[in-house]
């Protein structure tokens, strides 16, 4: 306990909490699984593969939550991306063009949300609640209410549970880039400033609206890439896919140490948050636990994360 207290006394990095939680949960599963099968490399790779979509979405969501915003349309946008991609492939487009278009559509959606939030000062919660429904509807309409089968043109090999799969490396690369952007660029400083005290940022000549537009567009671009990864797993365009994904993404970011009030957050923390959720889910399946147990465990982890974070904040303040 005293070791924990002295650990708290230091100004510890924000990602340390989620990292420790991840280790603890992983070790627990490794111990309780029969024959320690949770330590095998194949299950490790499976979890890595499963983390990709959630993780990439969490990168963008982190930016949004740092500005004090939220995005509820992530799941719908992933579904729409898979549908656009599948439809174009089916209509004979080359995979490069199809991917570019699918990601472009996602980015355009984000830019639209950004303009609503940044220029027209609409509440992000309400705007994205709207786009969530509109995008889901568009995806179902575009797919004529059914899954779209198509020749994946090799896109099904983008994301696999193997070290040679580019998907896992793309996700890691994106996480690195977004983390560097947030930490070491002018744009990154402005993202934090807008979330910390928007009036102050504006006073200093920062166009906070522009920052928000960029953040939502960038986040949706990342969601678009996550959609490509999702398609790689599904190999079909599925308009009813990823319902409720946004809640997992938000949970990952919150577990990662970003308060919904904005001004704080880290990419590394969110990545650990996403991994934590996937480890719990995979571990539970592996143990043959019913799905309701995963939900409860994930929920409890969110409570604990928020409580620990709030306790730490109170301590550093006094």
């Amino acid at each position: 306990m005293s070791a924990l207290a002295s650990l708290r006394a230091m100004r510890r990095p924000a990602w340390l909490g989620p990292f420790v939680a991840l280790l603890v949960v992983y070790v627990i599963f490794a111990i309780i699984t029969p024959e320690h099968s949770f330590l095998r490399s194949q299950i490790f790779l499976t979890m890595a593969r499963q983390s990709v979509v959630l993780g990439i979405c969490a990168l963008g969501m982190t930016l949004i939550i740092v500005t004090g915003g939220i995005d509820l349309s992530t799941g719908s946008l992933v579904a729409l991306t898979t549908v656009v991609l599948a439809k174009m492939l089916k209509d004979g487009s080359s995979p490069v063009v199809a991917v570019a278009c699918a990601v472009g559509v996602a980015t355009a959606v984000g830019a639209f949300v950004g303009v609503c939030v940044g220029r027209f000062r609409l509440m992000p919660f309400v705007v994205t609640l709207g786009t969530m429904a509109v995008l889901r509807g568009s995806a179902i309409g575009l797919a004529s209410e059914q899954k779209i089968d198509c020749d994946p043109h090799g896109l099904d090999h983008v994301l696999e549970a193997s070290l040679s799969s580019p998907g896992i490396w793309i996700a890691l690369g994106l996480a690195t880039v977004v983390s560097l952007v947030l930490g070491y660029t002018r744009f990154g400083r402005h993202v934090f400033a807008v979330g910390s005290n928007e009036a102050a940022a504006r006073l200093c000549g920062i166009d906070s609206g522009r920052v928000k537009i960029l953040v939502y567009a960038l986040s949706s671009l990342l969601v678009g890439i996550a959609g490509i990864m999702e398609f790689s797993t599904l190999t079909v365009g599925d308009p009813t896919d990823s319902v409720g994904l946004e809640l997992d993404v938000i949970a990952a970011v919150v577990i990662g140490g970003a308060p919904l009030a904005g001004g704080e957050g880290s990419i590394l923390g969110s990545v650990f948050g996403a991994l934590l959720i996937i480890v719990i889910r995979t571990g539970a399946v592996h143990m043959g636990m019913p799905s309701w147990v995963q939900y409860i465990v994930t929920g409890v982890i969110i409570f604990v994360a928020v409580a620990v974070d709030s306790a730490r904040r109170r301590r550093t303040r006094s």
């Binding site: 660029t185 934090f192 910390s196 000549g205």
Partner: protein, 513 residues
């Protein structure tokens, strides 16, 4: 008169918002190297004039010149490029960012792809901070939210200077000492003076006449959108300045105004005595101790207060003096249970409860976006069903009773001036009919006339049998208003002595020692 060359001039500035004419031909000049105070009641047009100077608003008629050339900024960024920068009254740092990040916010030195040059940013911040705080006083890596209010204020000034770059010529300070204690304020003015000596023209917008007399080389009074007077504040009697600020209203508020601003020391004794006398007769309990309402014994909070003991009786105003950081607000919050108490007792014999008038009007005192009627009606008690008409009528009654200057009970509280907002806060407490009122900095950021009215309201409440604890950093205000005063020092509350035994110097000495 002015020490340096004319840097900035306003000529015939006019501005109105709809039917309300705010500025009617303002003529003003500012010289390099001088601290020039701009005075005036709330609504006199000071803020609008500053907003025009900063390019936030645009004048309908008239011109400005800066350094001899026409100056018409399209926006704050434009003004900044021309070397005109401002430190607003509210704190505007980003609490999560560190000192360096705050100072270079919006002007971050960056290379290709917007990658930050950390060492360059640090150098910019260091240079700017050296101007206002001396090197090493404020840690560059500290989070802004963790700094004291006084240090945050210095960082804000450093930021304004850094953003003006090498071309900074005019620095506007809006109520820079409103949230500072005496010693912090003095230190700030020392720095401001040094900045002026380096050639900057400094515009000081403030309500504190004492500050103006001590630190400004010139003053200008605005009233009803026009310049009503100007001169050297050390040569002009404070009564004259107050007269210029208040105009015809002067006669009715003269006594209170004098007591409230405290620049004319002789006025206080008389007012104080008169009030105490009234209090006793009003109560009609001469010789008998009035009923005990609140007893605080060895109260200790998490960090502050460390030790507080006092009694409060019906009909009495107990003043609490203390520097910023002495734990004044924390004491009130701990008494009320808003902050946890670690040990000690609070015995309240107040059947109708204890009310708190918060120093943070916008933050927790009022719902700025709601109407006056809604704000006054806000209560944990009252009927289950609420009639909007009754609320409206109730609001109108209180507006009349407290003489709130407004277009009606449906006006948004956020649109009122500071003094009138304060009256709405008081109306809510009076409506709740609390026995004990804890009043925290009731006159912060409001003009002289409103100040006098607010203090008179408190006295009247005490006469009607309320017990009031008044926390204020305006020592003259305490001496003139309270029956007894105790000094809070580093979280420890001293004994409460009759106000007649205190004066400003004694209080300050006790609080600062």
């Amino acid at each position: 008169m002015s020490q340096g060359a004319r840097v900035l001039a306003f000529e015939g500035i006019e501005k109105s918002f709809g039917p309300a004419v705010v500025l009617r031909g303002v003529e003003l000049e500012f010289g390099a190297g001088e601290v020039h105070a701009v005075l005036g009641e709330n609504g006199a047009g000071k803020s609008t004039l500053m907003r025009i100077l900063l390019g936030v608003e645009h004048a309908e008629r008239g011109t400005m010149t800066l350094g001899g050339k026409p100056y018409a900024p399209r926006g704050p960024a434009d003004a900044r490029r021309a070397g005109v920068v401002m430190v607003p009254q509210e704190r505007t740092l980003c609490p999560h960012l560190d000192v360096v990040e705050n100072i270079v916010l919006g002007i971050e030195p960056a290379g290709a792809l917007g990658v930050l040059r950390a060492s360059e940013a640090r150098a910019v911040a260091e240079r700017a901070l050296a101007l206002v705080a001396g090197p090493g006083r404020i840690p560059l890596d500290a989070r802004a939210g963790a700094l004291s209010v006084a240090d945050q204020q210095l960082v804000e000034i450093a930021r304004a200077l850094a953003q003006g770059g090498t071309s900074a010529r005019v620095l506007v300070l809006d109520e820079p000492t409103a949230s500072l204690g005496k010693s912090d304020a003095d230190r700030l003015f020392e720095r401001v003076k040094a900045l002026a000596d380096s050639g900057l023209a400094i515009l000081l917008v403030t309500h504190f006449l004492a500050d103006v007399r001590a630190h400004a080389a010139r003053y200008t009074v605005l009233r009803d959108g026009k310049v009503q007077g100007s001169g050297d504040p050390r040569e002009v009697a404070p009564e004259v300045i107050v007269h210029e600020m208040l105009g015809r209203e002067l006669e009715s508020v003269r006594g209170e105004a004098d007591a409230a601003k405290g620049a004319a020391g002789k006025g206080e004794g008389g007012t104080g005595e008169g009030r105490t006398g009234e209090g006793r007769t009003g109560e009609g309990t001469a010789g008998i101790e009035a009923e005990l309402l609140l007893e605080v014994r060895a109260l200790r909070g998490v960090k502050k207060p460390r030790e507080a003991t006092f009694e409060l009786r019906r009909g009495e105003i107990l003043g609490i003096a203390g520097l910023v950081g002495s734990g004044r607000t924390e004491l009130l919050r701990t008494i009320l249970g808003l902050d946890p108490a670690k040990s000690g007792d609070v015995v309240a014999r107040a059947p109708r409860g204890i009310g708190l008038l918060s120093e943070d009007r916008g933050g927790e005192g009022l719902m700025l976006g709601r109407t006056i009627a809604d704000n006054i009606a806000l209560s944990p008690r009252g009927p289950f069903l609420v009639s909007p008409r009754a609320t409206h009528a109730d609001g109108a009654r209180w507006i009349a009773e407290l003489k709130v200057r407004t277009s009606g009970p449906d006006q948004r509280v956020g649109d009122l001036s500071g003094g009138n907002q304060q009256k709405v806060q008081i109306a809510r407490m009076v409506r709740e009919d609390f026995d004990v009122l804890l009043v925290d900095e009731p006159t912060r950021g409001i003009d002289v006339a409103s100040k006098a009215q607010v203090l008179e309201l408190l006295r009247e409440l005490a006469r009607k049998g309320k017990g009031i604890v008044l926390v204020s950093s305006q020592l003259d205000e305490l001496v003139a208003t309270c029956d007894r005063i105790a000094v809070l020092r580093h979280g420890e509350l001293g004994p409460a002595l009759p106000a007649t035994e205190w004066d400003e110097q004694k209080l300050l000495l006790e609080a600062a020692s």
